[in-house]
Structures are given as C-alpha cells and as structure tokens.
C-alpha cells in the first residue's frame, strides 16, 4: 500500500501545478477520490430507503461518542466514537421495529439528546479543541489514514454489492420483502451499522455538519435525472466525484473549508437540475 501511495505522489509530481509541491494536497486529493464514491454510493441507498434524517442523526452521535471517550480517559476517541455510533444505530433500528411512534420523532429525540450530551461532555475542558469535528479538515489527512479509507471503500463496495437488491425490495414495500424471505430487521441492522462506520470514520475530514449533505445531495440530484437504478447509481457517484475534486481545488485557492465547499458544489448541481428539469 505504501508503494502505491508513493507511486501516486510521483505521478502528481509530473503535473505542472503549484499545489503538487504540498504533500497535504496530494493526500487530500486521494482522500477525495476515495471518500466521495463511498458517500455517493451509500447516499443512493440512504435516500431510496428514506433514511436521510437517520444518517444526519448518526453524524450528531459522533459528538457523544467522542465525549464518552474523553470521559473514560481513552487515548483514541475514534474507537469510542465508532462504538457509540454503532450502538446508537442499532438502538434506533430496535425502536423502529418495536414501537409505533413516528420514526422521524424517535430519531429527532435520539439525535438532540446525543448532541446535548456530547456538548456537555466536551465543553467541560473547553469545546474549541473539538470544533474540528463540526467542520472537518480534509487537508489534515495522513498517508496511513488514506490506507484506512481505501479499506473502507472496499468494505462499502462489497456491502453495497451484497445488499443493493435487498434494500431495493425493502424500500418498495417491507411486507412484500418479508414475503420473499428477507429479514427487514437484519437488513436494517447491517445497513445502519455500515452507515455508522462510514459516518464516524470520515467525519474527521468532512465534518459532522457537512457529512449528511454529501450523502443526500448527489443522490437527490441524480434521482431527478435517472430512469432506472443503474443511471441513479452512476450519476450519483459521478456528481460526488466531480464536485469532490472541483470543491477541493476551490477550497485550496479560496482558503475555505474543503468539506463545505464540496457540499456547496453538490447543492449547486441539485438546484441547477431542479430548475432546468422541473422548470420551477
């Protein structure tokens, strides 16, 4: 893997741009090429299965996860963040399957509790040092973290390939899915755990305020353009990738937050599609 990373650095050195002299930009570009397809691919399933509010809540749960890690004196709060998000996700799935109250209300309750608890836990020693979690810093990504992202991309692609059809059937009608031998609860648990992993492992670079927009916006724009699931998936990943790369360079030259700039490009694509296709 290190060899591949060095090959990537050498390849970029051949390009006649000033930014190629910065190792952090080389890393950030590679990270964008890895993270954006993950978010674009998962986003199509999140939007199709009406879980956009849920993925947003998961982002917020990261605050509590870090807060709990700090409280228990953990050196690496990433572990507590991932663990808490997975427990949070599975907890919501159990409530979804055992309770009759509206799902958006339940998620809202969980999400706001997680944010409040997280802020209380983290503000004790001054919240400022954790503000990075909110906005994220793509330019701070290291080589070893990129290798981890590559592993995550492989996991997401495999999980996507295995779950795509099942999630499609569940999104069409859950009872129909059960009649075909699908366990909707098991499907929900695996899928939400996957979202929890992706959200928490990429939040440091994208930021919890931004991450959900990178899931939702490309898929939402792609839905308006697509006639079938193949087009939906391809267009969504393409929007993610293009906006990711363009957004990163814009952020570099304007000195703005990379995650938010990428999200703004995705939003621009969404609104352009909305205006030109729907003629509103």
């Amino acid at each position: 893997m290190t060899y591949a990373l060095n090959a990537w650095y050498s390849f970029l050195d051949l390009l006649p741009f000033q930014w190629t002299s910065y190792i952090f930009m080389k890393n950030a570009l590679l990270a964008v090429l890895l993270v954006t397809p993950i978010l674009g691919l998962l986003g199509t399933m999140i939007v199709n299965n009406k879980m956009s509010f849920f993925s947003d809540a998961l982002g917020h749960s990261a605050l509590t996860g870090v807060g709990l890690g700090v409280l228990f004196g953990m050196r690496n709060t990433d572990i507590s963040m991932v663990l808490f998000a997975v427990i949070f996700a599975i907890g919501i799935v159990f409530i979804k399957h055992n309770q009759k109250s509206a799902m958006d209300t339940t998620i809202g309750v969980f999400s706001s509790t997680a944010v409040a608890l997280g802020i209380v836990l983290l503000s004790g020693g001054g919240f400022n040092k954790y503000s990075n979690l909110l906005i994220g810093d793509l330019l701070s990504i290291t080589g070893s973290e990129i290798i981890m992202l590559f592993g995550l991309l492989i996991v997401v692609i495999l999980a996507w390939a295995m779950m795509f059809n099942t999630l499609l059937i569940v999104s069409a009608n859950p009872t129909f899915a059960i009649s075909r031998g699908i366990s909707t609860r098991a499907t929900d648990i695996v899928f939400t755990t996957l979202i929890a992993l992706v959200v928490t492992l990429s939040i440091k670079w994208v930021g919890l305020l931004i991450i959900n927009s990178l899931f939702i916006l490309p898929a939402a724009a792609s839905r308006m353009l697509s006639q079938n699931m193949r087009q939906y998936t391809i267009i969504s990943v393409a929007i993610s990738l293009v906006c990711g790369v363009v957004g990163l360079f814009t952020a570099y030259y304007l000195n703005t937050s990379a995650g938010a700039t990428i999200a703004l490009y995705c939003a621009a694509v969404y609104f352009i599609v909305l205006v030109f296709l729907r003629k509103i």
């Binding site: 795509f164 069409a172 009872t175 059960i178 009649s179 006639q227 079938n228 699931m229 193949r230 998936t233």
Partner: protein, 246 residues
C-alpha cells in the same frame, strides 16, 4: 390416497388453527381456524379494523401470533412459498426504480445495476404478459397508475409460482375496468396453477362472481362458506346491511 389427500382432501392445503394475536391487552385476532385448499380463491371481507391485513401479515411472518399455521404439500409440511401483493403502493415522483429493476432485484443476487442478461429480460416480459403489463417493463414505478402497479406486483408474486398467493385489497383506488381485469386474471390463475389465493376485498360483486369461499372477519370469524351463504347470513347483514351485495 397420499398423505396430503388424507389431511387436506386435496393435493395441498394451509391449516390455520387457533391463531390469536394480541397487542398488549387488546385482542386483534381471536382463535382463527381456517382450512384453505389449493385451487381455491378465498375472499376475506370485514369492516375496517377487523384484523384482515393483520391475518395476512401473520401468515407472511411479519406479525407474531399464538396458535399454529401449517402448510401441507406434496413434499410434506414446510414453509410455503408465499406471493404477496401489498395494499398501499406509493412511490415518490422521482423514485428511480423501474419495473425491470424491481423484477431483477427479486430474481438475481448481483446488484441490478450490473445485470444485462437478455434471458432474464425475456423471463420478466413473459411474467408481465401473464398480468397484461408487458409494455411497461422499462417504466419507472413512480410513473405507473394504481392498477398497473398492482398488476406488476401480482406478476412478481407469481415468480416463482407460490403455494399461497395473498392479496391485501389490491384494487383499492383502481378504476372499474381495472378491477374486473384484475379479478379475471386471478380467476384464471386459480384454474391454471395449483395454488391457494386469499384476497382481502371490499368489492362484493366481484367476490360473489369469482370467489369460491368467503370468510367474514371481525376480530374473529363471523361466517365462513360460499359467497351466497355468507352474503345471505345474519352476520353479514348486521355488519354491512341487507342491500349491500348487488
């Protein structure tokens, strides 16, 4: 006489015995006993909140119940292959799922984005032909009318041909011609395949014309017999009034 014929009197059947569902202390279904033969079209009728959909969901396995539910077929007792046509089908205006996507997702394990098989497409078209819907294979589900959506799901419920075909008020919100076409398709299915059909319906005139058996349900079985027996019985008159079936 083989085992099935001894137990069912026919080649296969579904036996529901003492099926009861409670939600906390409220009874939703009480001691339901039903014996459904293959080749029969059974209509379940009853007022709103009678537990009709819940009964289907318990047969499918979505609702927990006490009592027993047994399928007896040629190869012994096993979980039956169930086909289900849902009641409420609505898709957002921009939902990208096409009819072909939905069929492929049920037929293949590889993501539907990557499937290009011509054989599968032929298979889907022939399934759609059975329900007069072969010309809408490439349309998005969100662009289909209520009747077209129901026929698509009926076509899908027949792949593979099930032992039990369950339909939950499939023609609500469908025009008159669509309703008649749907019942004709169902009636032909019963003749051509060895399967039991259970349909929840409020279309009493179609039930009278096409069903072999009617079950009147209101948390428990009020009446069970031929359409004429049930419609002329006191239980039906008390719940729906005497002049309801024309």
């Amino acid at each position: 006489m083989n085992k099935c014929e001894k137990q069912c009197g026919r080649l296969c059947c579904t036996k529901i015995e003492n099926l009861t569902i409670k939600d906390r202390n409220t009874s939703i279904l009480e001691k339901i006993n039903l014996h459904l033969h293959c080749g029969e079209l059974t209509a379940i009728i009853g007022p709103n909140g009678a537990g009709k959909s819940t009964l289907l969901k318990s047969i499918i396995g979505e609702r927990k119940y006490s009592g027993s539910l047994e399928f007896i077929g040629e190869s012994g007792n096993k979980r039956p292959v169930i086909g289900y046509v849902p009641q409420h089908l609505s898709f957002d205006g921009d939902s990208p799922i096409s009819v072909s996507d939905l069929f492929l997702s049920c037929l293949k394990s590889a993501p539907v984005c990557f499937v290009h098989s011509k054989d599968k497409r032929k298979e889907i078209i022939s399934a759609l032909k059975k329900v007069n819907a072969e010309n809408i294979i490439d349309r998005k589900l969100s662009q289909l009318s209520g009747g077209e959506l129901q026929r698509v799901f009926l076509g899908l419920a027949l792949m593979p041909v099930p032992n039990l075909l369950l339909l939950d008020e499939p023609v609500s919100g469908v025009d008159k011609n669509g309703i008649e076409l749907f019942w004709k398709i169902l009636s032909d299915l019963r003749k051509n395949y060895d399967l039991s059909i259970i349909i929840i319906s409020h279309n009493f005139s179609q039930v009278l014309n096409y069903a072999d058996r009617v079950v009147l349900l209101d948390k428990k079985i009020i009446a069970n017999g031929t359409p004429k027996q049930v419609f002329s019985g006191n239980g039906f008159k008390e719940l729906f009034g005497a002049g309801e079936v024309i």
